[in-house]
Amino acid sequence: MPQSCGGRSLNTFNILLTLLLLIRVLSYPVPEGKSGQQTVEALQKQIEVLGATVSSNFTVDCETYGTYQQTSQPQHINILHNSEQPATCFAVLDSGNCLVADLQFDALMNKIKMFYIQKKNARVEAKGLRYEYGDFIIKVGSVVLGQSTSFKGVIVEVEYMPAVVVSECFGLMREFMFSFMPTSVIDATTNHWKTKNDAIYAPQDTVLQYLEHFNNFRKSAVSMMPPMQ
């Protein structure tokens, strides 16, 4: 495992992984009384045992706006903020096109209320701790959906700062992640890198991966909801 060498590079590279707790609950019998928070804590403890140090907190939140007109196919804009880029606001369309804008873009969304309205109970937020370990940054957080503060899943982000191309460091990262997560989880990454494995990393790559996971969380949350009486 590489030790810390040199300073931070400007371009960073992220791989995003999730431990979808709901699925695990369904797949594997978890001991009675073990909550999601406990899972997060266990994971954090494992990372701390590795020698990583807590640097700060992190937040990634996502708001969804839908078109006002009911006639055509509904279209969505997802507005995401990442605490790693505090001055930036990401807007992602359904097609996957990502707009990187200033924070004032939020104010702009308020101006176009006539066309896009905010979806209620669609806010997803991932919050947790940010660890630093040499050239790696590890973020372990819990995902919260809508107004409820109920726990929906665990999200893990691992970043290897010196690299800018995924394909060149995936093996290294996989090996690193294996030290605190089971292999089955590591291999179930998102679809994001499948197409652009050789592209140079940009901050929107992280955000797109988060969005993909958030959408998964939403879908599973809907499927888990009790049917309306």
Partner: protein, 642 residues
């Protein structure tokens, strides 16, 4: 018909155009028939919708045309016909065609009307009159020009002749260089740098008065008496006299001994009041300099209190002390001799040396600050916040990370910048001293340093060559990057060594390099002379310990193998050369004489003890030359055999 005759006379039929001074009235001539017709014809608007003329292709066109002006305002009722709009359009077209037909008829068939060209009286051309008028106009222009030229010539002659300068002329000169304004009856000027972006509180208002040339006419209150100039400037008393910022680097332990030495900014005299009869330009410049120096000092003193540092900066009186390195501090003082007693208390003992380079960069930093205050990047878009830099504006769309944003907020105060520059200055001066000292001390070889001329206030570079005279092919090369508080050494093979600001480290490093170079050059020489390298050790563990660094050694065998040279080179102990002879004649003779041991011939080739070579007694220019001669001498020696 009998009765009263009533005679009717038309009153003024014609309009009075003008009444001359003698009471005569000039009338406007009545219009002739053709004139009045053309005038009336002008009034006709052929484009108007004349409803009453519809469908009347009459031949009484001229009558009709004269009746037209009182146009009948037909009240249009909103028609219910579907084609009403079309009908009116057609009607209009019909009307216009019929009018056109009428006009054509009138023109063509001469019995209705004869068109006659309107004769307008042309003014009679009078060539003589024009010539006179032109001449007169030209004359007046010539007189204006020649008057102006005359006045200019006069004023220039006056200016050339003028021994006593005129007040207004002086004022004009003053106005071209300084900001002046008139308030009431007084003329006020401004010395401060506020228009250049300064935010210093002190106002630099001065007053300009006219100086009556007779000294007896002076008022008592006038502070300065200019004898020559008719223009007098009154500068506030706190801006009088000379001021400057003194920057010096001092050794704290050794009192006032200074590292940097340079002349004072005002070398001729200590700051004192300038004589009263100096020209106003110089007095104003000096006063402005006082404001500038005060601003610099106030800014530095404020930052010294605000900026946190491991060793706090000190502000004592008019001096700011900050710690550069252990035993070395930067002292920035404001020297302003407003009163003599205070000045003498400030500077006791010998005058500390002044560092002009740092003073200049201090001035530059203040100018930069002024520039930043006065020139803001324009907001983009226009509705955005003012004062946001372009980099910060792009931070959002370019998705800057948290660390990049944090780096952007970090700004360095003026004091910190000048301290960094001073540190670099100290390190650079120390490096320079060490290189000079060593190249002076070590006479056997040449230490040549080439300073790079592309340097900044915070970084400079020097390349060092170590060579022996006459053997320049073999040289030791390294480059020193002098940073703010460290020296980075880049060796010939690309190794990088970081040295601290302590000069002793650099000294030791260069001595080690010199010692190493001795061994390297002996090895290279051996190759040339055909000697064989037996061992070469860069860290030998025997012999006397060096205070710093390691002793290196090399052993060489002569081409015949009967002589061995051992060279030992240490950074402090210097170079020692030993020679071994084989066979050692004395030992073998002793052994033969003792007869206790029988010796086979092969044992005679055993090496004997090493004998020290006194290098200073050898012939040769330098160490390498001596070694070359020694090797040449030993190679030719044959083995002594019995």
């Amino acid at each position: 018909m009998s009765g009263v005759q009533v005679s009717i006379e038309a009153l003024n039929e014609c309009q009075i155009q003008e009444v001359t001074l003698d009471g005569q009235e000039i009338y406007v001539q009545p219009l002739s028939m053709s004139d009045s017709l053309s005038k009336l014809a002008h009034k006709i608007d052929f484009h108007r919708d004349e409803c009453e003329t519809k469908g009347k292709p009459t031949s009484e066109g001229d009558k009709e045309e004269e009746e037209e002006p009182p146009a009948k305002n037909a009240v249009f009722q909103p028609s219910l016909w579907p084609w009403d709009n079309m009908r009116t359009k057609l009607k209009m077209a019909l009307t216009e065609t019929s009018v056109l037909l009428d006009v054509l008829k009138i023109v063509k068939e001469k019995h209705y009307m004869v068109l006659d060209s309107v004769s307008i009286d042309q003014p009679e051309a009078k060539p003589g009159f024009f010539a006179v008028a032109k001449k007169r106009a030209l004359n007046s222009a010539v007189s204006i020009l020649s008057n102006g030229a005359e006045r200019l010539r006069k004023s220039q002659e006056q200016a050339a002749k003028r021994t006593t300068p005129n007040f207004h002329y002086e004022l004009l000169k003053l106005r071209s260089k300084w900001r002046l304004k008139k308030v009431g009856t007084t003329i006020l000027g401004d010395l401060s740098f506020k228009s250049a972006g300064s935010r210093f509180w002190q106002s630099g208002t001065f007053e300009v008065t006219k100086n009556d040339l007779m000294p007896s006419d002076f008022k008592e209150g006038a502070p300065a008496h200019t004898v020559r100039s008719p223009l007098q400037v009154h500068i506030p008393s706190e801006l009088e006299s000379v001021a400057y910022i003194q920057v010096s680097i001092r050794h704290t332990q050794e009192g006032c001994e200074d590292l940097a030495s340079a002349d004072l900014q005002l070398p001729n005299s200590l700051p004192g009041s300038i004589p009263s009869d100096t020209p106003w330009q110089r007095r104003l410049e000096t006063a402005q300099n006082v404001i500038f120096c005060k601003e610099v000092f106030v800014q530095l003193a404020r930052e010294a209190v605000q900026v946190k540092s491991p060793l706090p900066h000190l502000v004592i009186g008019n001096q700011v002390f900050s710690h550069l390195f252990p035993g070395m501090q930067l002292c920035i003082a404001l020297c302003h001799s407003i009163d003599k007693s205070r000045q003498s208390s400030i500077r006791p003992g010998p005058k500390p040396d002044h560092n002009q380079v740092l003073e200049h960069s201090l001035h530059q930093l203040v100018r930069e600050l002024h520039f930043k205050n006065s020139y803001h990047p324009m907001p983009h878009p226009v509705s955005a916040l003012l004062g946001v830099s372009k980099k910060r504006r792009n931070a959002g769309p370019q998705a800057f990370s948290r660390t990049e944003l944090l780096d952007m907020t970090h700004s360095e105060s003026m004091l910190e910048q000048i301290i960094r520059q001073a540190r670099h200055f100290v390190v650079r001066t120390r490096t320079l001293d060490i290189l000079d000292k060593l190249s002076e001390e070590i006479t056997d070889l040449q230490i040549a340093s080439h300073w790079c001329n592309l340097s900044s206030a915070l970084e400079s570079m020097v390349k060092v060559n170590i060579t022996f005279n006459g053997y320049e092919t073999f040289k030791a090369l390294f480059a020193l990057h002098i940073c703010v508080d460290k020296i980075r050494v880049v060796m010939k093979d690309g190794r990088v060594i970081n040295l601290s600001y302590e000069p002793q480290e650099l000294n030791d490093f260069i001595l080690t390099q010199v010692a190493h170079h001795h061994i390297c050059i002996v090895q290279a020489l051996a190759k040339l002379m055909g000697w064989q390298l037996l061992t070469s050790n860069s860290h030998i563990g025997v012999g006397e310990m060096e205070p710093v660094g390691n002793v290196q050694s090399i052993m060489l065998a002569s081409p015949l193998g009967n002589r061995v040279i051992a060279v030992r080179s240490g950074p402090f102990s210097g170079v020692h050369v030993h020679v071994q002879k084989t066979p050692d004649v004395d030992t073998i003779r002793e052994l033969h004489e003792s007869k206790h041991v029988s010796l086979a011939e092969k044992w005679e080739m055993l090496g004997g003890p090493f004998h020290k070579v006194h290098l200073d007694k050898l012939e040769g220019r330098n160490f390498v030359n001596k070694m070359e001669l020694l090797m040449a001498c030993l190679s030719s020696e044959r083995t002594d055999t019995f």
